[in-house]
């Protein structure tokens, strides 16, 4: 049972972690493509069309990866977590079904027109199809984030005969953490796409310094990041304060604060020790945590001790949070620091290498962020309603092990191929 729980979690975590890589790009990239396409429609400048045609290839591949890994998830809800559907299916199910009905069909069908229909429909229809695809990806994020946020901060439901039933669908969808998580994720996707575009363009410029189109998209990506990252800092802070209000145990784990304190220190770095319930080799800033969280240097912050047994494992949450924030800081430095250098006609090679190195930085930050919020919710699957351990299915360790091996192999092949093809496409450029 214990083994099945751990394997089920590894398998689902692996799957959902692999899946999110692709929507994290496509949600943002779809809007960039819509922008390129609209610019072309209005200016008839072939440079915009070239840009569009190059990035639509990246989009098509990324979208396909997202679709096929997403199908896996819809099945694993049932195969790995039957207890989830048995108990909260009346609330969770319709949200998922609405995602399929309103978003998936829309995206998939208009993607066909977007990819293969340029010579078959009038220009404006093709442009509208591109915008519809972008709208579809965002709508899809809306539904799935509504469900995830409801699992974090459930509202709008009642109990009937041991199962949950929605009392108000508006309260279910617009639960307390939803607006923050939605904006945070959309920005994350925009930033991920911005660094992907900048990074792959930089890669192209390293191979072909004279490619004017790649020079344009490098600057476009870098400038977009320079605008979005600071907004993300503010939204991330608001999201954190919202979490403090509704899931204080998660915040305590993120900051590795074991005891409830007035004037709590901020642990910059350290090694959370679950046994001794303290941090080894910690570097702290006195009173800073209270200042950040309650905006008062002597304010009280609840530590993990206040929540009894229902606390998440501290180290992974603490570290993931630092990876996310650290990556964000580096992104900010790069996007802002390069601003004036990018005004030069020829971008220095060291900067091109730096942008190329940051191609997938959005993945690192996004994955780390999801690890914070998902591990931070443990031991609950739905906060205060359902423990993760109570939802696990009856698949045996052998079944889980065999399928896990198959998934790991498949994902490895897919990920390597994806990155290789992307760099290959970028290396060829729009010619």
């Amino acid at each position: 049972m214990e083994e099945a729980l751990i394997l089920s979690r590894i398998q689902f975590g692996l799957n959902i972690g692999f899946h999110i890589l692709f929507p994290a790009i496509t949600i943002g990239l779809a809007w960039l493509l819509a922008y390129f396409r609209v610019r072309y429609e209005r200016s008839r400048d072939p440079a915009w069309l070239e840009t569009y045609k190059l990035w639509v290839k990246v989009f098509a591949l990324t979208f396909a990866m997202g679709v096929v890994t997403g199908i896996v998830m819809s099945f694993q809800f049932g195969t790995n977590w039957p207890g989830f559907m048995n108990r909260v299916g009346n609330v969770a199910g319709p949200l998922l079904a609405y995602e399929v009905l309103t978003a998936f069909f829309l995206e998939a069908t208009f993607l066909g027109v977007m990819l293969f229909g340029m010579n078959k429909v009038p220009g404006w229809v093709h442009m509208v199809s591109t915008i519809v695809v972008a709208f579809g990806t965002t709508l899809s994020a809306f539904w799935i984030l509504a469900l995830n946020s409801w699992m974090q901060t459930p509202t709008g439901h009642t109990q009937e005969a041991g199962v949950l039933v929605a009392a108000s669908w508006l309260a279910v969808i617009f639960n307390p953490s939803f607006p923050y998580r939605m904006v945070h994720m959309l920005l994350a996707s925009g930033i991920t796409a911005a660094f992907l575009v900048a990074g792959l363009s930089a890669w192209r410029l390293l191979k072909a310094p004279a490619d004017a189109s790649a020079g344009k998209t490098l600057r476009f990506g870098a400038h977009l990041a320079a605008v979005l990252v600071p907004i993300q800092v503010v939204v991330g802070d608001l999201h954190g304060l919202n979490t403090l209000e509704h899931q204080p145990a998660k915040i305590a784990a993120m900051e590795a604060l074991w005891k409830t304190e007035r004037g709590a220190p901020l642990t910059l770095i350290g090694f959370p020790n679950q046994q001794s319930r303290s941090n080894d080799y910690a570097i702290t800033v006195p009173k800073a945590l209270s200042l950040i969280l309650v905006h008062d240097p002597d304010g009280e912050v609840q530590g993990l001790e206040a929540f009894g047994e229902d606390v998440p494992p501290v180290a992974p949450v603490f570290w993931s949070f630092r990876v996310m924030v650290g990556t964000g800081v580096l992104m900010l430095i790069l996007a802002w620091g390069s601003f004036f250098i990018l005004k030069r006609p020829v971008v220095p090679r060291w900067l091109l290498w730096t942008f190329a190195g940051f191609t997938f930085s959005g993945w690192v930050a996004t994955l780390a962020g999801w690890l914070v919020t998902e591990i931070g919710r443990q031991p609950w699957l739905v906060t205060g309603v359902l423990y993760t351990a109570d939802a696990v299915g009856e698949a045996t360790g052998a079944e889980l092990g065999a399928s896990l091996t198959a998934y790991v192999l498949t994902y490895t092949v897919m990920l390597i191929s994806y990155v290789v093809v992307l760099t290959h496409l970028a290396g060829k450029g729009s010619q």
């Binding site: 591949l61 819809s74 039957p82 309103t102 998939a108 039933v165 299915g393």
Partner: protein, 324 residues
Amino acid sequence: MSEWLPVVFTVLMGIAILAYVVLDGYDLGVGMLMPAAERQEQDRMVASIGPFWDANETWLVLGIGLLLVAFPVAHGEVLGALYIPVAAMLVGLMLRGVAFELRIKAEGWHRELWNWLFWAGSTLAAFAQGLMLGRYVTGFESGAGFWLFALVVGASLCGGYVLLGATWLILRTDGPLQAKAVAWARWGLLWVALAVALVSLGTPLVSETVRQKWFSFPRVAYVSLLPLATVAAWLWVWYSLKKSETQPFAGAVAIFVLSFAGLAYSLFPYVVIDRLTVWEAAAHPSALVFLLIGTLIVLPFNIGYTAWSYRVFRGKASGGSPYG
């Protein structure tokens, strides 16, 4: 209201699954036929399904989504029992989905590898779906005989998809490739006959409930129209293969629709045969009503723009470069 809501959702789920089987069936079938074709023909075959495969697979997510929403208890039970075939199908669908994109972009032996994976993924997915069907209609009974039955159903569903794929190619291509597709369709038809016969004989053997439904008098008089119509559709495909471009595909779809109707008649009202009825497994009315309202509003739009997309891409597929 709580009486008819589960029935409405059974019908919706049935439509979604049938739409999936027919739509993804033809593109999986085209994938399975890849090794039988020449190099340029392969590009043309892939081009014929390019604009559609994504949306086709969405029907699977809708079908499974409706199972999950409307019958949450059955969702866990069915998928739990089908754990390994489901995993195999998912790996197959993933491989073919990415191969679809990557084969266009790859060169040299990479391209050959992705072509092979496109075929292998399509075949694995189709076979696993047949296996799931075979396990499902026998109520997940254990025992070598039941597994053998499921394996044969798996192989024959592959044949069914080959039939759909081949008749799709007759519709969407011309010249030598079309002529080859006619020959492929004949093979598919023979396999389909085996599949339909097996499932028709297998289910009543396994379940007393199903036996009662088909062989009790006087019902047998009118329910036997269904198998007769299936045989008629089969003959229609066989004899129209060389005469018409549209009729073979229409006939192949008819075979699938009729077989599906037979299966639905056998199983209803069970969602897990002899164990769980649609009423026992149904979700709370609040969830069903909320979803039904949205479905009635949204589904006509879905069908509308899907039809529009098929109109945009009507006619013969060319092997030219994608994204043109």
